[in-house]
């Protein structure tokens, strides 16, 4: 995983910017929240906390391992918050300050705590009321029974009123929009059970269902809390990836001083400085400097483009070889990015029309239950000669017994386990509905650059080129950070060739490198820079030339590296009967090469974001359920339009925002894993629904004929809930055999963690 930003090359923060995120507390202390995605193991916690403890003036530094965050507090006004970032950098951790309120963690956390508190109160009430209920069932005399019922009422009623609020609120929201969800029958059952039990208690009757009402709430709140925790963790992980790329730009003023400004403070006409290796933050025209930019995230084009003064560049492109000064032309509404966002939000509307399985079922379930309860009431009224209390009692018993306790757990329990399995395999699910949609997919469309491939060139078979030429080229290329240079050095070294020493190496941004080898001038770079004659054949693939004074120039050809497991994943998807296609913004040659290698028959090249979007929408209208897998800014609208979508963690911010799921690591097997888990999850959900139906089929007649005593209700409801949750847990067993057959083992262990840290520190 890249440490920060897109593909790991971005500077994580600009010096002096940390002060923008410092929050002053009421008690006079200052607080800074940092995202540190590099926290992977126990050693990381102590390294960071001990390292920060050395800083003069810092009072508290605390790592939150679950959310991969660090919170620092200090009192001293003169303390420089940038020192924290520098220290973390020194320790080998990339960090970025953030505003917890803005990132949604603060609000989120409050929701989680509310649920936990409600859960605790419901648990307290359930345990105590059950204690009294058991005494009553064991055979208490009428006076003691009434006494116990009153105490139960005193505990249960406030607990229901308080702990039931999440359900009441959600049910009310649904009803006020004339919709139906599971919370409507839940709320109705809990409230009527409480009311009827109160009436029973007041009239000295035998049956009170206080225990059923509170334990129902307790079970459902467990499901609700687990669901919330899983989503909060995945969201936090996704937004960490998202916000790590700097949200600002380094601006040059008239005197040439550099200043880091947040995005909001940027204005048209400002001059923005972009160092080599940084991502271009705004749309603009190059004013000074020459360089090569990697536009693969914007257009899908895998070959870096040379730029020179006067050229237009777009936000999101990576500046590779030389520093650039850009005059900001578009900002806010009229950037390329905002056009993509507009397309994306239009495309998303189709997806919001999707109705969750549980809600669809609630739409069927609730009317059936309510009709049954009504029929029971009428039946008993006729049978008993309009004895209202008895008839109502039996009707409400039907409501209680059919209350979708098991149904309410059937979906969240499976989703929590499924999301947990995927999370351990490096796949983050942003939304529970995404898993349901994933299971329905019948067509998979891949983007090429950065999705099927790593967006990293690799030196191809060199053919007739001499070993010496390779050694000279590598000697020159060592001095450059251009991706093709790096690929050349890597390729030469893996062939066991030692690079030749080259003197006086100079980089000519946008053209190439020059130097002296054994007194002769050598050049490495574009065809024109090396004076390659027209007669040498051109290639669709990226090439660089080497010219040695007095010799014929030679060409090196590169191809993009496929993601590990790409071929195996495609093979399995096809074997499972899915249609696999590829749409790319890249030129035809590289796209055809990848398609041939992976055995993808249907592919398109040179497509704009609009064309991609139109294609995916068109397939959707024709009835196909499309899974879109892509990473670029140009894929974002198509990702939003797909029935389900996935993006690698190296994707553009907007790509990750648009996708339902984000996968870490390089292996493309994540696509297959996600589908497997989604299918298995759907299977278990169906089983759970079936189990709930069986339970209802057995219990409802008992209730209709008036035999549903509180004891029967308590046992039946608990048993059905436990069966459903137990069944959902079986999904966890899939974990071990999921990755079988793929080359890459998942997860990052401690050794990996230390290696990565060492590399970063170096």
């Amino acid at each position: 995983m890249g440490c920060c930003g897109v593909r790991g090359e971005n500077a994580c923060y600009a010096p002096g910017s940390a002060a923008l995120w410092v929050k002053e507390q009421e008690d006079g202390t200052r607080e800074l929240h940092l995202m540190v995605p590099g926290i992977h193991c126990a050693a990381c916690i102590s390294t960071i906390e001990k390292g920060l403890r050395e800083l003069e003036g810092l009072e508290e530094a605390r790592v939150n391992f679950t959310l991969r965050q660090v919170r620092a507090r200090w009192r001293d006004e003169t303390f420089d918050p940038d020192a924290i970032l520098r220290k973390l950098d020194e320790l080998g951790y990339a960090a970025r300050p953030f505003d917890p309120a803005e990132a949604g963690f603060a609000a989120d956390d409050r929701e989680g705590r509310e649920l936990l508190k409600a859960l605790a109160v419901a648990g307290f009430a359930a345990a105590n009321v059950m204690m009294f209920s058991i005494s009553v069932w064991a055979g208490a005399d009428p006076v003691t029974r009434d006494f116990f019922h009153w105490i139960s009422a005193a505990i249960a009623l406030p607990a229901i009123a308080w702990a039931g609020r999440p359900f009441f609120r959600s049910a009310w929201r649904a009803l006020s929009r004339a919709r139906m969800n599971m919370d409507v029958p839940i709320s109705l059952a809990v409230l009527t059970a409480a009311m009827m039990s109160l009436y029973q208690t007041a009239t000295h009757q035998q049956h009170a269902y206080f225990d059923a009402a509170v334990s129902l709430l307790f079970f459902l709140l467990i499901g609700r809390y687990l669901d919330h925790r899983m989503r909060a963790r995945a969201r936090s992980a996704v937004s960490q990836l998202m916000t790590l790329s700097a949200t600002g730009a380094t601006v040059l003023d008239e005197e040439g001083r550099r200043r880091f400004l947040p995005m909001e403070a940027l204005k048209r006409g400002m001059r923005v400085f972009v160092a080599a290796g940084e991502r271009i933050p705004v749309d603009g025209i190059v004013e000074e400097g020459r360089s090569d930019v990697d536009v693969s995230l914007i257009t899908g084009e895998s070959n870096p483009e040379p730029v020179e003064p006067g050229r237009k560049v777009y936000a999101g492109a990576m500046n590779l070889t030389g520093p650039l000064v850009i005059r900001l032309t578009a900002h806010g509404e009229d950037t390329f990015l905002s056009e993509v966002i507009r397309l994306m939000s239009a495309a998303e509307q189709g997806r919001s029309a999707y109705v969750r399985i549980a809600d669809r079922l609630a739409g069927l379930y609730a009317p059936v239950v309510h009709v049954l309860a009504g029929a029971t009431l009428l039946g008993w009224l006729f049978w008993t000669g309009f004895n209202w209390p008895v008839s109502l009692l039996h009707a409400i018993a039907v409501l209680i017994i059919t209350c979708p306790c098991a149904l309410g757990l059937a979906v969240p329990a499976v989703q929590v386990v499924a999301a947990g399995v995927l999370f351990r395999n490096g796949i983050m699910v942003k939304d529970g509905a995404a898993l349901e949609r994933m299971a329905e997919v019948d067509t998979v469309i891949f983007d090429k650059t950065g999705t099927l491939t790593l967006g990293r060139p690799q030196l191809m078979d060199t053919g007739p080129v001499s070993t010496q030429a390779l050694a000279i080229a590598a000697g020159l290329a060592r001095a450059s950070t251009h991706p093709l240079s790096r690929a050349l050095v890597e390729g030469v070294e893996t062939r066991g060739i030692i690079p030749e020493p080259v003197q006086d190496v100079r980089e000519h941004p946008g053209q190439g490198l020059s130097g002296r080898w054994r007194g002769r001038e050598v050049r490495l770079g574009s065809r024109s820079f090396c004076n390659v004659p027209e007669t040498m054949p051109e290639s669709d693939l990226p090439q660089i030339a080497l010219a040695v004074e007095g010799r014929q120039p030679v060409l090196f050809t590169f191809a993009d590296t496929l993601r590990p497991d790409a071929a195996e994943t495609i093979r399995r998807l096809k074997a499972a009967g899915l249609k696999v296609e590829m749409i790319s913004g890249d030129r035809e040659g590289p796209v055809r090469a990848v398609a041939r290698e992976l055995g993808i028959e249907v592919w398109r090249s040179g497509w704009t974001p609009q064309q991609k979007l139109a294609y995916v929408e068109g397939l959707g209208k024709a009835g196909a359920r499309v899974l879109m897998v892509g990473d670029g800014i140009n894929d974002a609208p198509a990702l939003a339009a797909g029935h389900a979508s996935m993006a690698p963690s190296t994707a553009s911010d907007i790509g990750r925002t648009a996708a339902d799921m984000v996968f870490l690591g390089q292996s493309l097997s994540a696509v297959w894993l996600a589908r497997e888990v989604a299918l298995r999850g759907r299977q278990l959900m169906t089983q759970n629904f079936a189990l709930s139906l069986v339970y209802n089929a057995l219990a409802v007649p008992v209730a209709i004929f008036g035999y549903a005593t509180p004891l029967f209700a308590a046992i039946a409801m608990s048993a059905s809930s436990i069966v459903v949750v137990g069944n959902a847990l079986r999904l966890g067993f899939i974990d071990r055999r999921l990755r079988r057959g793929f080359s890459l083992e998942g997860g990052m262990d401690k050794a990996d963690c230390e290696r990565e840290r060492g590399r970063k520190a170096a």
Binding site: C41, A42, I45, S46, E49, K50, L52, R53, L58, E59, E60, A61, R62, V63, N64, F65, T66, L67, D109, R113, L116, K117, A120, V121, F124, A127, N128, M131, T144, I151, I155
Partner: protein
């Protein structure tokens, strides 16, 4: 049955104390980083947060 006069208040008080303790631990942030606490225990050094 007069023993109930004592037993019921005692039982309720005890469980209320438990509930109170849980809500206190929740408020003081002990549930904020469940995975982290599991790892901190493995560290042999004194690993308290930096505080004077």
């Amino acid at each position: 049955m007069s023993v109930l006069v004592f037993l019921i208040p005692i039982a309720l008080t005890l469980s209320l104390i438990g509930l109170g303790a849980f809500i206190w631990s929740l408020r003081s942030g002990q549930f904020d980083d469940l995975d982290g606490e599991a790892l901190r225990i493995l560290d042999d050094d004194d690993d308290r947060p930096l505080k004077d």
